[in-house]
């Protein structure tokens, strides 16, 4: 269209055409397909919730929810069966606790070292190695706990701490899981520490702080919410970890936080009971799903908490 045509044809024709020249059905179909891809994750969540909820509801028809949550006797495959879930919940928490006792100091120290002390060259080598540690399959950690960590603990066990741990113990499992979650705490914390504005460090130096004071009293507190989020993420990973507890921590329901004793974790119960030949609809089947439901709720709550902390922290510096 020429300029003179526009001038000649009046105000109605002057309105520029901005809509597409063709309806582009192909593009609309493709976008709908992409939306369908994105919907898969919603469908997956729904499927998980349904597949856990239905047998759990049936289970609570047979076993009162109070007896399940607060009972201290766990023997769903015994006759007569008992359904007090506390021993295996405490087993899971004990493992998580001991893994965190090991992983929190190591993880934070690694993060502080990488972010404040390491030269660029060291950081460029060490960070990928830590990421490789995160990629080691869990069955390898379980085997390592069983054939390396446990014998070493028994060999170097100081007598004044009481009896040494047996072949299966919460301590061996906790240490192996601790090693497994160190990279999570280290990488999430390191990200938070690198996000601390340099102005804070320079301000502290200008006031005469030493390097260690800057790291411990300025960077660490400023990055604390990120560090905490990393710890929660690691704890939720430890709670859900299966192979290590299955191989190294034992399969004995045991209501104790004593790390030298064998325990049964929730995941270990699920993995030993829900093998391919379990009969759908049996009380054992429903028990497995009720335990899994509890596990799902525990990790979900921790994840929501961690996301919330990260989000709050983001508002501060960006």
């Amino acid at each position: 269209m020429q300029a003179s045509d526009i001038a000649a044809s009046g105000p109605a024709a002057m309105k520029p055409r901005l809509e597409a020249a063709s309806p582009r059905y192909g593009e609309k179909i493709t976008i709908a397909l992409l939306a369908a891809c994105a919907a898969i994750s919603v469908i997956t969540t729904t499927a998980i919730v349904i597949s856990l909820l239905v047998p759990s509801v049936e289970f609570f028809g047979d076993v009162p929810i109070k007896d399940f949550l607060f009972g201290t006797d766990w023997g769903p495959t015994f006759t007569p069966p008992t359904f007090g879930v506390l021993p295996i919940v405490v087993g899971t928490l004990s493992i998580t606790l001991w893994s965190l006792v090991f992983a929190i100091p190591i993880g934070i120290a690694s993060a502080l070292y990488l972010s404040e002390y390491a030269s660029r060259r060291v950081r460029r080598i060490v960070k990928p190695v830590l990421e490789v540690l995160a990629g080691v399959p869990t069955v390898a950690f379980g085997f390592f706990a069983l054939v390396f960590i446990t014998p070493q603990i028994q060999k170097f066990w100081p007598g004044f701490l009481g009896d040494e741990p047996g072949i299966f113990s919460a301590l061996a499992g906790g240490l192996a899981i601790g090693l497994l979650i160190v990279p999570i705490i280290a990488t999430v914390s390191e990200d938070a520490m690198s996000a601390v504005p340099n102005g804070l460090r320079e301000g502290a130096y200008a006031l005469g702080a030493t390097k260690s004071k800057v790291a411990a009293r300025v960077v660490l507190p400023a990055a604390l919410s990120g560090v905490v989020a990393g710890i929660i993420l690691a704890a939720s990973r430890a709670i859900g970890e299966t192979m290590v507890v299955l191989l190294a921590a034992g399969n004995t329901p045991n209501l104790t936080l004593n790390p030298t004793e064998p325990i049964q974790a929730m995941t270990a119960f699920i993995a030993t009971t829900a093998t391919g030949d379990i009969a759908t609809g049996s009380i054992t089947y429903k028990t497995v799903f009720a335990v899994a439901m509890l596990l799902f709720v525990m990790t979900l709550l921790m994840n929501v908490l961690s996301i919330r902390i990260v989000r709050r922290y983001r508002e501060v510096y960006e």
Binding site: P137, T210, A271
Partner: protein, 311 residues
């Protein structure tokens, strides 16, 4: 100070004096601080060394224990109840079959989701927010729960595919899909808006912009995510246990509807055997698995660092 000549003796003395005073005031770090600084630094260094030593011990211990069985027989022998004849052959074939279908699922689904979330939804879209929250939560669901989903929904229940390669593939694909989506989104987000705007200003449609500009620019990041996801899927054992891990598959899986076995499962079964020879075999198997995974992860990390584009 036009008459100031730094070469004169007086100027030299003045400069030296000023330098001495400045250095004396500024570098006079109390001995206590020097000690404390060094101590703190070494403590942090010790922390990271413990983590790295743990990794080195894990690799070294398996290498030493598994050394007698680390030969070609390990890769060519099939499953056997006799430790002397047992090997990873069926397991490797099984893992390859499972991974082939995992890749088939996660590449289109993961990249499609990421493209949709980054390019075709607004920040305030409720659907996009729902998906985002879902992906974040799915990433944190324990892997054994995916196994139960596979048991209740895929092997039995609505899909009823049985304890087959395809069941294992779908289960593992769902497990690692959040990784692909999260990493791909990150890669797509890193492409600056000016590329999009430039493309659209030249008359490209949104889909053409995605296909010709954004995806090519984001491919290294997306590939990193996919490799990391596959390496995670190869190493996962827990979700496969409810899918009939106890079943002893002695043949080579031959297709999507065939019974399955996988490397970590076979290693897990070996670890559980009482005989000492099986422990050696398990260590050797772990070395093979570790070699594959470390190679894949290193490649992914290298890829990310190599093609990390600064716009």
């Amino acid at each position: 100070m036009s008459d100031f000549d730094p070469k004169t003796a007086r100027a030299q003395v003045a400069i030296a004096g000023a330098r001495g005073v400045t250095a004396g005031v500024l570098s006079d770090q109390p001995r206590k601080d020097v000690v404390r600084n060094g101590l703190f630094g070494s403590l942090l260094f010790l922390g990271i060394m413990i983590a790295l030593a743990g990794l080195a011990l894990l690799v070294g211990d398996n290498l030493i224990k598994g050394w007698p069985r680390l030969n070609m027989d390990l890769l060519t022998n099939g499953t056997s109840s006799l430790p002397a004849n047992a090997g990873l052959h069926s397991a490797i074939i099984g893992t390859l079959w499972i991974m082939a279908f995992v890749i088939l699922f996660i590449v289109p689904l993961g990249v499609g989701s990421a493209v949709f979330l980054e390019e075709f939804t607004g920040k305030e879209s409720r659907f996009a927010r729902a998906v985002e929250v879902n992906v974040q939560n799915l990433a944190a669901v324990p892997s054994i729960i995916y196994g139960l989903l596979g048991l209740a929904f895929i092997a039995r229940g609505p899909l009823s595919l049985g304890f087959t390669v395809i069941t294992a593939s779908i289960t593992l694909a769902l497990l690692v899909l959040p990784v692909v989506i999260l990493v791909s989104r990150e890669a797509i987000r890193a492409v600056p808006p000016s590329i999009r705007e430039g493309s659209m200003a030249l008359g490209a449609t949104r889909l053409q912009t995605v296909r010709r500009q954004i995806l090519p620019a984001a491919i290294p990041g997306i590939a990193t995510g996919i490799i990391l996801a596959i390496s995670r899927a190869i190493g996962e054992t827990a979700p496969l246990i409810p899918l009939g891990a106890a079943t002893f598959v002695t043949y080579d899986p031959s297709g999507p509807m065939s019974g399955f076995t996988a490397m970590p499962l076979v290693i897990f079964n070996w670890v559980k055997q009482p005989q000492e020879e099986f422990q050696v075999l398990a260590a050797a198997g772990i070395v093979v698995l570790l070699a594959v995974l470390i190679a894949m992860n290193s490649f992914a990390i290298w890829l990310r660092n190599r093609y990390e584009q600064r716009w």
